[in-house]
């Protein structure tokens, strides 16, 4: 399914994000040329968007373990097709990333969910720095 105006594939939340129960569909829009920053924008409410980023350039050691329940919820056939995005809070003095609960997107099924890495002790607010 494609949104005709944006020509972007629509991503369905398998489970809504905590705090945003009514927002079920999003599009991922690239914000910088290198693909370091994206906007995860609600179809239901274009005013709502989250900044998200692939974690590798910022947190090279970050390797979330995805449980089988997540594969099932996203209808994942091939785990290599999963895209991991961390949610960024852009602050005045400091920008942080939520490492505890990344958004996992299945590129084939176009389904996503914010996965809480239970028991990982990862921070909700990790200071963002570019690692290269």
């Amino acid at each position: 399914m494609t949104d005709t105006e944006l020509d972007m594939p629509i991503i369905d939340m398998a489970v809504p994000m905590p705090g945003f129960p009514a927002h079920r569909q999003f599009v991922l829009v690239r914000l910088n040329d290198e693909g370091l920053l994206y906007a995860f924008t609600s179809i239901d409410d274009p005013e709502l968007r989250f900044l998200v980023a692939p974690p590798e350039p910022f947190f090279p050691d970050y390797a979330p373990e995805i449980e089988n329940e997540v594969f099932a919820a996203l209808n994942t056939q091939d785990p290599d097709r999963l895209l991991v995005m961390v949610v960024i809070t852009a602050g005045v003095n400091e920008t942080t990333a939520n490492l505890l609960a990344p958004i996992i997107v299945d590129r084939d099924s176009r389904r996503a969910m914010q996965v809480v890495l239970t028991g990982s002790n990862l921070p909700v607010r990790a200071v963002m720095r570019r690692a290269f």
């Binding site: 489970v15 920053l37 900044l51 329940e69 960024i88 852009a90 909700v124």
Partner: protein, 84 residues
């Protein structure tokens, strides 16, 4: 609030498909098992609250904040901490 008394091994149904089972009670610690459909996420309340707050804080940043961040990302040297 509905208040129920249950023994270890007994369960409570919430709707048609959520089963909450008391597994063990030891002093003031109760172990609970929860069976729920995939689209019902189960979290410890404090984790859920923290996540909800973090999401609300992250939601809809100002254009200025987005611009500042993209500029920072486009200038790698400035975005990295100085070598020590």
């Amino acid at each position: 609030m509905l208040v129920l008394t249950r023994k270890a091994g007994e369960s409570v149904m919430i709707g048609d498909d959520v089963v909450v089972t008391v597994l063990e009670a030891r002093g003031d610690v109760i172990r609970i098992g929860i069976q729920a459909p995939r689209d019902v996420q189960v979290h410890r309340e404090e984790v859920y609250q923290e996540l909800r707050n973090a999401n609300r804080e992250a939601a809809s940043p100002t254009d200025a904040a987005v611009r500042a961040l993209t500029e920072l990302l486009d200038r790698p040297a400035a975005a990295s901490p100085p070598d020590e």
